[in-house]
Structures are given as C-alpha cells and as structure tokens.
C-alpha cells in the first residue's frame, strides 16, 4: 500500500500531458465555480449551488484518464473539473443551473444533476450512493456486449461511505469483478458532520479492503500524486484487475452549498486551506518541471474566464421551459384508449 505523499511511478514524464490537461480543466472549473457563486449571491440562480473548491485535482485526475463515449463517469456535486477533463463544456452545467431548454433535463431537474447517459455520464439523483449500482449495471451490459476494456468511475465522498446503497453496490461490484473505480474524496466534512461522527474505522481505505478491492490512497490536493494514483487504479480496472477503491484526502474549501457559510469548520482547519489549494499546488508542480510556462498559465487563466463568461451568458439567454407547453407525462409508453 503506497503511503500518502509518495509517487511510485518511475516515469514521471509520462504524466506531463495528462497533468497539463488536468490543470487546464481545474482552472476552467474554478473559474466556473467563481462565476456561479457570484450569480447565486446576486440571486440569479434558482435552487442550490454546489462548488468543487478543493476537489479539483481529484476530479480532473479522474476525467483525464477516461474516454468520453466509451467509459462511464458519474460526477456528482463537486466534479466540475472532472467534467471538463472528460470533455464536457461548462456550457452544459450552466444550462442545467439556468433550466435552459437545451439542457438534458430542460428545467425538470437542475444544478449539478445532469449527465448524458448515452455518452457515459449518468444523471445523478440526490440519494447518495444510488448511482454506484447503476454504474455496475452499465459495466455488466458492456461486458455482455463484448466490451472488456471500458472502465466506470464512481465519485463519492466520505459521507456516502455511510450509506447502505453504497455498501450494497460496492459488495456487488466486487462479487461480479466489474471494471469499476470507486473514488472516495474525503473532504473531512459531510455537510456539517466531521469524519469523527461519520465513521469509526481508522481509514476509509479499510472499507475498500473489506469489500475485497485493491485500494489506493493519495493526497487529493497534490495533482501529480493524485494523477499517478488515478492512472494506476484506472489502468488496473481497465486491464482486468478487478474493482479498485481510491481514497483521496482533501478539504472542502467552501460550504456544502453556497447557502452554507461552513461556520462549523474550525478556524485552524480553514487556515490550512491557504497552503493546500490544489490549483496553487498544481501550478507550482507544472512550472517547476517546465511542463508549463508562466505565460501559458496566464493565457489559460484568461481563456477560462472568457469561456465561462461566454457560456454563462449563452445559457442565461436561452429559453426556459414553458409551463403551458409541459406535457406532464412521466412514461414513454402510454396505453391506447
């Protein structure tokens, strides 16, 4: 079992290209989060707003190793960077927040609840852990259709590890030996509940071992270490080594949602955020290795701000659903009368 903080890969250079794509996705996600938070505070968003601050390295490291349209990815509330790395535009998330008629749910669902099942991202429900068995079914279908090198990534948090549905699914995935990576992003708080009131095992990696999965641990604020870990886990699942369980430690550098000031998080812990921002760490790592120049980094920052501005403006001016035109039917088949 690798210790947190250690990079096992001998060929660090192979991470250059994924690291650049991951960092670019992280910048885009952060720019989007900043924008959507400002819009929430200005009262421009219906419903909740959920940010991924602190989760960007973990999410981006998932997305860069997946193939859109082939693999299965289940981002949930803090995986915008993963969505960007997977290849989805922030326009799709903006459309979901504004209820655009061009979003998948056309205002029938919203905010981070969006996915394109035929491309491999699933439409989440709010019940934590529920999507894990759905991914199992997707991967079973692929296996039966003769596809053996696709992989499914299930994104959960420390809180979800307490949910019965997740336990049932993780056990089933292990029994069926499905090519699935369950990524537990431990951000220390499930809404307002700290780890100490959420679970009593020494590490959440113990859970993975208990299911009979290969487990991996990493510091989720450290992009290179997280990339190396995720690459190892995803490659293992893709090459028939069975399900993998990744625990990435990070901090939730925001409230549960933007309605929440997270006043329950102790000041000392919040003070640590300054040194642990995954974007700062990633930038430093890429610059130090000469994988990125200051000029490029500044250009990516600027591009991201402009792209977010353009996408949000477009989503904001798109039509929203008309209640008079709504069909109010919940099934595709209806009886003949």
């Amino acid at each position: 079992m690798p210790e947190a903080g250690r990079i096992e890969s001998v060929n660090e250079q192979s991470l250059q290209e994924p690291a650049r794509r991951a960092y670019r996705a992280m910048i885009m996600a952060r720019a989007f989060d900043n924008k959507i938070s400002a819009l929430y505070k200005a009262g421009k968003i219906f419903g909740g707003v959920f940010l991924g601050r602190g989760h960007e390295a973990v999410a981006a490291a998932e997305g860069v190793f997946l193939r859109k349209g082939y693999d299965v990815y289940t981002p949930f509330i803090r995986e915008q960077a993963g969505r960007c790395a997977w290849g989805d535009s922030v326009l799709e998330t903006a459309r979901s927040y504004f209820g655009s008629i061009h979003s998948i749910s056309r205002g029938r669902d919203g905010n981070v609840h969006w996915g394109h099942p035929h491309e491999g991202t699933l439409m989440p429900i709010s019940h934590l852990g529920a999507m894990a068995s759905v991914v199992a079914g997707m991967m079973l279908a692929k296996r039966m259709q003769g596809i053996t090198d696709a992989v499914g990534v299930v994104c959960i948090g420390d809180g979800t590890t307490s949910v019965g549905a997740l336990h049932e699914a993780a056990n089933l995935i292990a029994v069926e030996k499905l090519p699935i990576v369950i990524v537990v992003t431990n951000n220390q708080y499930a809404y307002s509940t700290p780890n100490s009131r959420e679970f009593a095992c020494a590490s959440l990696a113990d859970r993975g071992r208990g299911y009979g999965m290969v487990t991996h641990e990493c510091d989720g604020t450290d992009l290179l270490q997280t990339l190396e870990t995720m690459q190892r886990a995803i490659t293992a699942a893709r090459t028939g080594k069975g399900p993998q369980w990744v625990v990435a430690e990070t901090l939730r550098m925001c409230g549960h949602g933007e309605h929440d000031d997270a006043s329950y998080i102790p000041a000392e812990l919040k003070a640590e955020y300054a040194d642990k921002d995954p974007l700062d760490i990633a930038r430093r790592q890429l610059l130090e290795r000469g994988w990125l120049t200051e000029e490029e980094a500044a250009a990516w920052d600027e591009e991201s701000r402009e792209e977010v501005q353009r996408c949000v403006a477009q989503a904001q001016k798109e039509a929203t659903p008309c209640p008079q035109d709504e069909q109010w039917v919940a099934t595709s088949w209806r009886p003949e009368r």
Binding site: I104, L122, S133, G137, M138, A141, N171, L172, T331
Partner: protein, 324 residues
Amino acid sequence: MSVTYIDAIHAALEELLQEDSSVILYGEDIAGSFGGAFKATKGLADKFPGRVLNAPIAEDAIVGLGMGAALGGLKPIVEMQFADFGTLGQNQMCNNAGSHFYRTGIPVNLTMRMPCGGTPGGGPYHSQCLEAVFAHYPGVHVFTPATVADAYYMLKQAVQIPDPVVFLEHKFLYRWLKADTWADPDPLPIGRARIARPGKHATVVAFSAMVPEALRAAEELAASSGYELEVVDLRTVKPLDTDTILASVARTARLMVVSEDFPWGGVAAEVIARVATQGLHLLDAPPLRVTAPDTPIPAHPDLWKAHRPGYENIMSAAHYLISL
C-alpha cells in the same frame, strides 16, 4: 393437460430469453440448479449461460444494476425474492429509474418481478402486496395479473414496454390457479381492464388474487339469491382503466372495490376516488371498500384467513351494497 400461473411465468421468461439476446435475469438464488425460491427460473441458467445471474442479498443494488443494464442497452428482468423486500429496492425503482424518463427523455427498460400476496403461514414479511406504494410514484407501470393467460402475456409485454414495470405475481395463484393453456389468441391490450364476469346488480372491481375470490362470490351469490355481480379485473393498477370501471358502474349503479392490500391510500381508495370525482351521478348507493384491516399480516393461518378478504366477505358486502 393443465398449466399453472407459475408455468406461464416460467414460459414467458424462457421465451423472452430465447427471442431477445438483450434480455437478462438478475436476482437472489435464481440461477444454478436451484432456480429461484418459487422455481420461476428453474433450468434457465443452464439453457442461457451467462444471462441468468445470481445476486448478493442487496435489493437496492439489484434494482440499481438493472437500471444501469437497461441504460446500457439490455432489457433486464430483476427479481425480488418476495415483494415485501421490494421496499428495499423501491428507491432505485421509483426515485431513480422511475424519474429518469421525465428528467432526461430516456426511458429505462427495466422489469421488476415481485412475488406478492398472502399465503397461509406467510406472516408479516412474506405476504405483502405493495402495488399502491409503487404506483404512487410517477414513471412506473404496475401490473397485477389475475389469470394464467395474463401472467404469460403481461410479463412478455412488460419487457416490450420501454419503461420501468413492476410485475406483481401472486404467490397464492402460483400453483393454485390452473388453465388449459396460457396462450390467448386475442389478448386485451395492456392498460385495458377486463370484464371477468358480466352482471347487472353491482360492479366488483378487483385485481390479482382477489379476482378469483370475486368470481366465486359472484357465482355463489347468483346461485343463492339471483343477484348478478359484474366483476372487473383491473389487470394493471397503473395505468388504471377508469373508462371500463365507469362504464360498468353506469350499468350497475353500485360499486365495490376489493383489494388484499392495506386500506390506507390503496388502489381501492384510488378507484373509489376516481368514480366519486368522475361518476358520482352514476351511483345509486355509496361505494364500498373491501380490504385487509389496517394491521400487519398475521402468520397463523386462522388469523391470516380472517385478515385476508375472501369470497365470503365479498358476498356479505354485496348483500349490504345491494340492499342500500
């Protein structure tokens, strides 16, 4: 030669597997030489290798896997060993699969088989019906076959329909209900209720195992007093064929609804609410509800028999209804 209700289910499953390579079966103890707690899948795992799979005891994950397999292009049929445990799969069926078409425009072709209903000695957790709690949620069809032919035909239809379908097969009918054949050359379309017996003095709406009880009550009432009950078999509680019910009430002017389920918010309450709101003027007497009492289902056969509505309850209720 006669066939039973469970023979019809077994035949439908076998034909579905034979006719469509995307059909798979997933559930507890359904594979191997065992073939399911009620033998509904006996022999199928050998005949269709890799397509009849045993699951761990994890109802939530069984239904969730079914949903994912459906999104992945298969037509899964998942089995709850007893309908009572369907409550553990209900979140996946109702909140996840059931909401999916409305939220995305993509239907989930998932069939959830649930052996339901009371048998002597079944007790509180191997006897429940649960059609009402599933039908409560949008996006889920709920089928409740009451004949051998419907057990066969409606299960095959359940898989053809691209939406989530809860298929409630009644355990009491499994080996008790017999017919010459399950084949019906001209089956009623899904969603249409059936006039199981024509009559003129009162309408009795029933479904699942209450249909044979209602038919027996009607025959005995006709023989003993000359009153003719019209028995309507709902076949599917969702969709609910209000038109056929209202047409029957228009002929008889009296309505009784029989359900084996608990009374609160049940299908009987829904049928009466619809007739009251759409056809109150058709009624010459207040409608009547015959259901189980509002208690868990008792285990002892004597208590169970008193808890479950049977043909005697229906006969005495009919006398009262016609006297009004």
